[in-house]
Symmetry: C2
Subunit: 254 residues, 2 copies
């Protein structure tokens, strides 16, 4: 059985907050004791906030490139400047949406920059945006190391963000940083029940878990930015997000 | 808490098998009693088998179109004939893969036709393939109606298949038929904690659940083709798969 449990009572995160302390407190208040093989799934939003990734749009000077693209996509040129700064490449654009390869390597809309739930100061609140974590995989590793040191168990940590998809409506949670979890589970060469080779040989296990965990986080509030998972069905190992990146030259949708 | 429980002990499915009887038996053997709001997630493979969607490739006569495409993608022309017959449109192709819009409306590789785990007869076993269910949403509705009649509770039924994605390696479970479950949960207009409108307004809730359920099914065997879900965090309602289809004219990756 896989159980996915939202951790209640995590406060609004401020720049500089110690997430390890906050998570350990919240686990205790939820009467949850981490066991070997457990996984904590954390929304990128609180990592970003703790890291101080808020940007006041008033401080951003858009480039010529940003001004031009902003006209096409009908977005604030300062926001477009930030999106371009966070991206390796623009894949597609249309009014409202810029699909990019993020500098972290994955493809997503608007470089994952978030307008909502960002605290600013007074009347300027709506002028702040939140970038994705500076290095989500490094953040996952740091959290894991410190949490394991405190709890003396071996766990996995995954940082997720909600992404849109080609062809389908609706966002789903996807992995953007892994520590101690496989990105892809490779079953190539394993026989199936009839002794044939399997058609499906590589399972996007981290993304499957990210989606399931995202389901219980919801989006309407920040009340459950951390989710506890027990019963992940594959062995934990040192995985990396890069396992999930389809090489550009093999991608039919670039 | 969301719990996702594989239902152990479901036998290999044969054409004509009564899945309702089989599922009710398995629930009993697993000491699981369905409650209002529970969901059963079922892999398309056993629906197809019960429906007799196996095809002996020796009976397929490839068209000129199939022969030509088969040369390009280095696949058996008879298989390509079946893929084209199950599809509205070919979006992309390359050796080994044909990305299509399935006649059921979703985009997937090779029209979801499965080479593995298909029982044939004697030495011909490897010449059989398995098509997706004839009408997975109708199958979901029938299963739900009969299971509800037997158990006297209100449940949701979802049929899933494992699909590849643009940009990312690894398959994930995705919904291909819904009964009594929302496809998309629409949060448009809801304020977030700071009173702003939400950036993320449409959640692909059915696909998030499909991915989480797929995780515990695995792919290596057919032992767990049915998964029980308790704690789905959104209200059940009459949903439909079509909610999840991005209109062609709004899709940047066609």
């Amino acid at each position: 059985m896989l159980t996915i449990t939202p951790i209640a009572g995590i406060p609004l995160i401020q720049p500089g907050d110690d997430l390890v302390e906050i998570i350990l407190d919240a686990l205790e208040h939820n009467n949850l004791t981490l066991l070997d093989g457990d996984i904590l799934v954390i929304t990128s939003k609180i990592i970003s906030k703790a890291e101080g990734r808020q940007v006041n749009l008033a401080t951003v000077q858009p480039s010529q490139e940003a001004l031009q693209l902003a006209g096409c996509v009908e977005k604030d040129a300062r926001l477009v400047e930030l999106i371009l700064g966070e991206s390796n490449q623009v894949l597609r654009s249309r009014p409202g949406t810029i699909i990019v390869e993020h500098r972290h390597g994955f493809v997503c809309a608007n470089a994952g920059i978030d307008h909502s739930n960002v605290a600013g100061e007074g009347d300027q609140a709506e002028e702040w945006v939140l970038l994705l974590p500076a290095d989500p995989e490094a953040s996952a590793h740091q959290l894991r190391q410190r949490l394991e040191a405190h709890t003396n168990v071996r766990i996995g940590i995954m940082i997720i963000d909600s992404h849109g998809r080609a062809w389908r409506i609706g966002t789903v949670g996807m992995a953007i940083g892994l520590a101690g979890i496989p990105g892809v589970v490779d079953l190539r060469g394993r026989p199936d029940l009839f002794g044939y080779n399997l058609r499906i040989t590589q399972i996007g296990a981290a993304d499957e878990l990210a989606a399931g965990a995202s389901l219980v986080m919801g989006q309407a509030a920040e009340g459950t930015p951390v989710v506890h998972v027990r019963g992940f069905p594959y062995p934990l190992r040192e995985g990396s997000l890069a396992e999930l990146f389809r090489p550009r030259q093999e991608d039919l949708f670039r």
